[in-house]
């Protein structure tokens, strides 16, 4: 296959970026999108040019490191797949492809297509954990968990934290990510002691990072490589309301 690729180039966080157009040829339909970019980069290096910086790690759809908005869709045109799992057979010979970084104020560009997603780490640090003594593992099945709860908690926990929800949302909202992380722990018995503190602090941190609000477009769910359901957003809305009404009606402002 032969393709025309318009790729976002930006030297660093403070510089102004622009699109750069490259022709790539000898692309096999069996290559992944990232392998196509590898081919492009080898060509650039051969011509003593800077390769395009993009994020990747596992290249098997489990780590959440790869990103990219491809022809206007986070992780490209394939449903329920990350960019590393997107095959070039999804495109046609001679196609023009626009490749942009995830765009959100809370995800500043570091270089080219690489964005800083540490805002997600800070949301997790605000409450996406359980406080438990570390040390030797406790006995299996010491805490009973029903099959339904285990399954649903697993559905929420499938979130790999890639940020496609933010990238796809017209408001750059992080509601799907935050909701998945809140609900994953709040459904489990291990999450109960910190249930209310967790939802209050994680929502407060989400706001502090400057993400947008949910206007119920549900672009996030459509873009999510793990198909996390927007039902978790409704459930977080309910939990936060309950936690605020029950407690003193305020939540600590986080930096």
């Amino acid at each position: 296959m032969k393709l025309k690729v318009h790729v976002w180039r930006q030297a660093n966080a403070s510089s102004k970026g622009k699109f750069e157009t490259h022709e790539v040829s000898d692309i096999s339909p069996d290559m992944s999108f990232l392998e196509m970019l590898d081919v492009l980069n080898e060509e650039l290096v051969d011509h003593e040019k800077e390769p395009v910086a993009f994020d990747h790690d596992c290249r098997e759809g489990i780590c959440g490191t790869c990103s990219l908005v491809i022809n206007g869709e986070a992780h490209g045109p394939q449903r329920a797949a990350t960019t590393c799992q997107l095959h070039m057979r999804k495109f046609d010979d001679g196609d023009e492809i626009w490749v942009e970084p995830f765009r959100a104020g809370a995800f500043p560009v570091i270089r080219d297509l690489v964005v800083d997603r540490k805002a997600f780490d800070r949301i997790i640090q605000a409450g996406g954990f359980i406080t438990a003594r570390t040390g030797s593992a406790c006995d299996a099945n010491e805490i009973p968990v029903s099959k339904e709860i285990a399954d649903r908690a697993m559905d929420a926990a499938a979130c790999i934290g890639c940020g496609a929800c933010v990238a796809a949302c017209p408001n750059a909202s992080a509601m799907l990510f935050t909701a998945a992380k809140v609900r994953h722990l709040n459904m489990m018995p291990q999450g109960q002691p910190e249930r209310e503190v967790r939802v209050r602090n994680m929502v407060s941190q989400m706001d502090a990072e400057g993400f947008g609000a949910c206007s119920n477009h549900f672009e996030c769910e459509a873009a999510c490589p793990k198909e996390i359901s927007v039902e978790f957003i409704a459930e977080m809305n309910r939990e936060f309301l309950g936690a605020m009404v029950k407690a003193d009606n305020t939540v600590p402002k986080r930096g």
């Binding site: 022809n71 942009e100 408001n171 947008g212 206007s215 927007v230 459930e235 809305n237 309910r238």
Partner: protein, 236 residues
Amino acid sequence: MSQAALTITDTTLGKKYVMALSGLVLFGFVIVHMLGNLQVFLGAEAMNGYAHTLQSNPTIVWLVRFVLAATIIVHFGAAFALTAQNKKARPIKYRMKKDVATNYAAKGMIYGGVVLVAYIIFHLMHFTIADTAPVIAGKLGYVHSSPFGPEQMPNVYNNVIKSFQNTGMTAVYLVAQVALGFHLYHGSWSIFQSLGLSHRRYNDAVRSVAVAFAIVVVLGFAAVPIAVWTGFVQAV
């Protein structure tokens, strides 16, 4: 260490609760108002009698007006704050962005809202001021028919008829109802999502009911101008 605290309405989720609850109040008003309007089809006696009953209870009317005005201000305020936050959250736009799941109803909420504000002001000047302050209304050129019946009741019925014999006026009202319909479709099912009242077993049903509600409200409101404009309902 003392930490600054956010109250519920400082948070994004809190503002959505405010949107949903104020929207619910407005939704309730819209339905009552629609039923009131439909009395045009019962004739001048019924319509003017209804208007007269309302106007003879100024305390209740003013209480309701006050609550509605406050609700619209709160709803508008939260919408404005959320829209500003959403714009700020993506300072650099995409060169190319595809919509996969959203629709025009969802994307048009703020524009539809602004159309509704403009319409509400226009509508109040047109009918309410014409009745409560006929002198001002006369100066502004708004409809004001001569009093009705032996009790000299305000002739709301004829005001309606005269207004919608005018094609331009009918068009303005019909456009506003379409804006209201889209807003109500997305708004009414969003109430459930925003307040966390959703459940996968009922979500599809809620969406269908939202469509039905929006259609009923649009048709209910549009029926009056259309009936007058086509000559189905005549002046007395």
